[in-house]
Each structure stands twice: as structure tokens, then as C-alpha cells.
Symmetry: C2
Subunit: 328 residues, 2 copies
Amino acid sequence: MELHYLGIDIGNTNQTVALADARGELLAIERRQTDPTRGAVGILASVIEAADTLLDHRPARDAGLAALGVGFGGPVELPTGVVRLSHQVPGWEGVPLKRLLEERFGVPVTVDNDANAATLGELVFGAGRGLRDMVYINIGTGIGGGLVFGGRLYRGASTSAGEVGHTIALPGGPECTCGHRGCLEALCSGTAIGRRARELAEADPELGSRMLALAGGDLRAITSKIAFRAAAEGDPGGRKVVDDTVEYLAVAVGNLLNLLNPQAVILGGGVPEVGAPLFTPLRERVRDYCMEHPYRAARILPAKNGYDAGVRGAVALALEAAGMLPCG
Amino acid sequence: MELHYLGIDIGNTNQTVALADARGELLAIERRQTDPTRGAVGILASVIEAADTLLDHRPARDAGLAALGVGFGGPVELPTGVVRLSHQVPGWEGVPLKRLLEERFGVPVTVDNDANAATLGELVFGAGRGLRDMVYINIGTGIGGGLVFGGRLYRGASTSAGEVGHTIALPGGPECTCGHRGCLEALCSGTAIGRRARELAEADPELGSRMLALAGGDLRAITSKIAFRAAAEGDPGGRKVVDDTVEYLAVAVGNLLNLLNPQAVILGGGVPEVGAPLFTPLRERVRDYCMEHPYRAARILPAKNGYDAGVRGAVALALEAAGMLPCG
């Protein structure tokens, strides 16, 4: 009998639920938008309804459900699968998500944070396929990450490992949402790149003129994307913002290579989608922050799971819950 | 029948060979000093002679030799156990140390670099006993390190993992022996602390006066130890050197906690022997570079294996070779 896996990606406003086979093929997807003010209970009801819809209409009705995986947009305690907290949605703190879903669906469930889910997704279905030792970095509005050692997700002593975004890339640098200074997230997240671009345009109107023009003359509308677009045109202001981004990121990636000697560092999320204009100079600049041997051993790769990275990661967690993958 | 393990610690001038039981009890030790100009062949002959001496005079003559472990003072390729290179001693490059010793002694042999050996030694016999996830940092004339994940030594994609000493703690900082800038080793090794103390004494004779006096008036004789001694007396110059050391180290340790969420970071080697004057402020300053959750999960501990850390580590590698420990 064929077995199916259910992946649930829970963000603050967007939830995606997918039914997949053991090869990670997404057979059907349900997407929901839930008003965060409806709280944890509203979101939970919404994803359960989406899961029921998928199970009721699954293509092979006789296929059994093997397991369920959840990628959650905030810290989760393992192996209990209890949510630690959510900054944006009220009511999540202490919710025993794993137990609730196991009781509801009668299958094994693994709940983990979305960065670990995406990491496992890249390992099983994406750019990390077949690798034993790799680091995944998600660079979007924030920076998250995950670690794979010996072919399994490494979660650390208390399941908070992989916080690449809060390693310090510039001591004394700009303040981060975590309260510390100079974190990679405060320098290289999409939010931070946009902020640095606006600061440049304000401090040096000549250097910022092209980015300002691309933003329709509205300083507040200068974003990370605009900085990369200006840089691609050869604009010195855009180039400065991108060069600084690459330099900070090179410090962080170089440190990862020296420390962990992985086979690959995989970059996913919105910012790396720009492709070669980020990856080409990054590969070059990492050399200056890393020893020859681990540099040669590692590839710096774009993630492959793209738009569905979240839910593919959740499906990978379902495979882990079913004992189809070595557990971390 | 009782089984014995042989540990061999190979440094540039000093070699230590020990016979141990399965609990790591050192039953007998032979120490050798070998002129580095005698090269790899001279050192190899010396340690084999020391090992033969131990085996010939072992307390329980009928005890079998189970395995042999070697901690080597330079990079080693695994699982082959071939020496990659030695900066100080000619002739080591490409020596198949594992194969040579397996043929000579007829038992399984594991060869690894001395930092990994010391890490495994702390895990099995020292401050890391019973831990699953930990980082070991050796702070002596240089800075080395090793990683333990899931109760086993993590060696990375090509056995160069654990180079904490070459992670960047201060981008653009002082030049390191590895050719890059701002590595932890270039800031916090005993050598680097002494250099910063001398630079301070030269740049600011008033601030450096006490350290200069402790060095008998010879600027070149100011060392890391003198800086710590002056700081202990309350001297502002010594305090400045120690405070800066703690700050750099706190960045590196904070990054390790955020990234790896270990149960412990264990500090060994000559510099941490100073004890509380380093550990007390370090534990406090790490807070500023690390999130609350991994901070609370981790202890920052002094190593326990002390003077015999090298050879105890080699004995731990012998236990690994014999299949008594999970392999990395």
C-alpha cells in the first residue's frame, strides 16, 4: 500500500499544507491566510481544516497517512513539540502542537521551527541531497539557519542550534532585533540591506541618487531589491550596499567553513534569489576569511526548493517522524 | 583478560606515550624529547622505542594490547591517518602514520590532530564526561579546538572541523599566522595576548609601567602571564589587556553558543589555567553576544585533563579505534 505524508508550514499569516509521497512529490496543496489576531486557535483550526480537505480529496483514497511534519515560524521545544513562543501571534506559547496533531490524526508528528524544516527539506529534496555535512542559511526579512551533521539534522542541547543569523559578524555593529549588536541578521537580512541602502542615500545623496530614482523619489521605498537592481546597472551607490553585504556574509560563511568544514553552505530565501550577483562575489570574498582546506572542501550553493521550501521542509519532517530519515 | 590501550602524543619536540586501561587510568608513561631536525623518522623511531619499553615492562604482562591512538601536532587526513603536513618538523608530509603503526603493533590505530585528541580526551575522561554536544577550545601558544555532536567527535567533510582559532572575532583585526586578519588566535592565544600587552606598554608607557616592571624592565619579556598577574594586582594596564581578551573571547564563545547550542564550552591549555580571572568575566560578557536560551543551556568550564591532556586524548582515540566509543 502506498503511504502519504502531510507537511504543514505555519507562518504568522500564511499557512501551507501539502500531501506528498515518500519521494517528496507534492500531490496536492492547500494554502490559507489567517488573520494573526485570530490567534493560535484560529490558525490551528485553519490548518486542520486544510489538512482534512487534502485527506478527503486525496488522489489515491486507499493510501494510508504515514506521518505528519510541521514547520513552525518560531522556536519549538523537542522532542515534545511544544511551541516556545511566537512574537507575532498571541496564544502560541506552550501549545503542545505535536500532541494535539497526533491525537487528531493518529500518526507520528514532528514539529520543529521553520529554519530546521527548510534545512531538512534542502537535505532530502533540494540542493543538499546526498550530503552528510551542510549548513543552510535562509536570508529573508530575517536570517535563520540549520545544521546537518552526519546526514541528520543537528538540533543542539536544547533545540536552538543553527542561529547563524545571530552570530556576530561585526562586533559593535548595528543593533539587532535580538537586542545585541552586529549580528549577521542586522547586517544582511533583506530588512537590514534595505536599511543600509536608505542610510547611504540619506547620508550621501549623490551616491544614493540612482537608488532613490528607482524608488520613485521616496527614500522610504528603497529596499534590498532596489539596491541589487542599482548595483546590476553599475551604480556606485548600489554597488557599495551590495559589496558591504557580501563582505559581512563572507565573514559569517568563512567562519562556518573554518569551524564546521561542511560539504556545502546552501543559501535560500528572498535575498539569495538574486543569484550570481550575490553568489559570484561571495565565493571570491569567502577566501579572505577562511583557510584553504575547508574552502576547497565546500560548495556555496543556492537552495533548490524555492517558493515551496517551507512546506517541502515540513514534508521532510514528516519523513523523519515516520522513521524514514535518521533523526537528529 | 584485561585489555590495554596505548596513547601517543606527538609534538614537535616532546612526545609522550602512555599505557592505559579502558577507564583511561594511566598505568605507565614514557616521555621523550626529540630534536626536530632529526625529522619525522627520528620522532617516529623515538615513540616506537618508548611504546616498546612500556609494553615490555607493563604491569600485567598477560594483558593484551587492544588498540593504539595518536594525537599528532598538525593536520591529519582521516580515515587514512596520513599526515597532511607539519610546519616545524621536516619529512612528515604524506607519512601513512596509521598504517605504519598498525603493521608494527598489529592492532587498530586511530590518528588525529592533537586538538581533536584533546577534545575526545575531555569527553571521555575530563570535564565533558557524559555530554552529548560540546565544544573544546585549547588556548595555548595557538588556539585549536574540537567539536562533539551526539556524543561523538565531529570531524567535518574533510577532517578539518573545529578550527575555532581561525574564526574571525574582529574583522580587519591583527594579522594571523594563517594569513587572514582578526582570527581568534591572533587576538587571544597566549602569544597574541603577550603581543597586545607589549604593544600597549610601548604605546602608553604609563599604562604599561607595571607590566614592564614585572618583566624586569625588558619590554620583550612582557608575556600573557605577566598581563594576567598585573591585572590580578588591579593594575589598569593589565586590566585593559585582560578585558580586551575576555571581550574577543566572549564574541567567539557567544557565536558558538548561538550556532551550536552545546551543553558546554570547555577551555583548556595554558591561558585558561589562570582560572577565575578569565572564567568569571567571560561568563558575564558572553551574555552580550548570545541569545538567552542557548546561554542558559550551556556551561563554560575549565578542562580537567591538565598536563596530560595530550596523551589522555591519544588514549581516548585508542578507545575509539577499538570500537569502544561511537565514531565521528
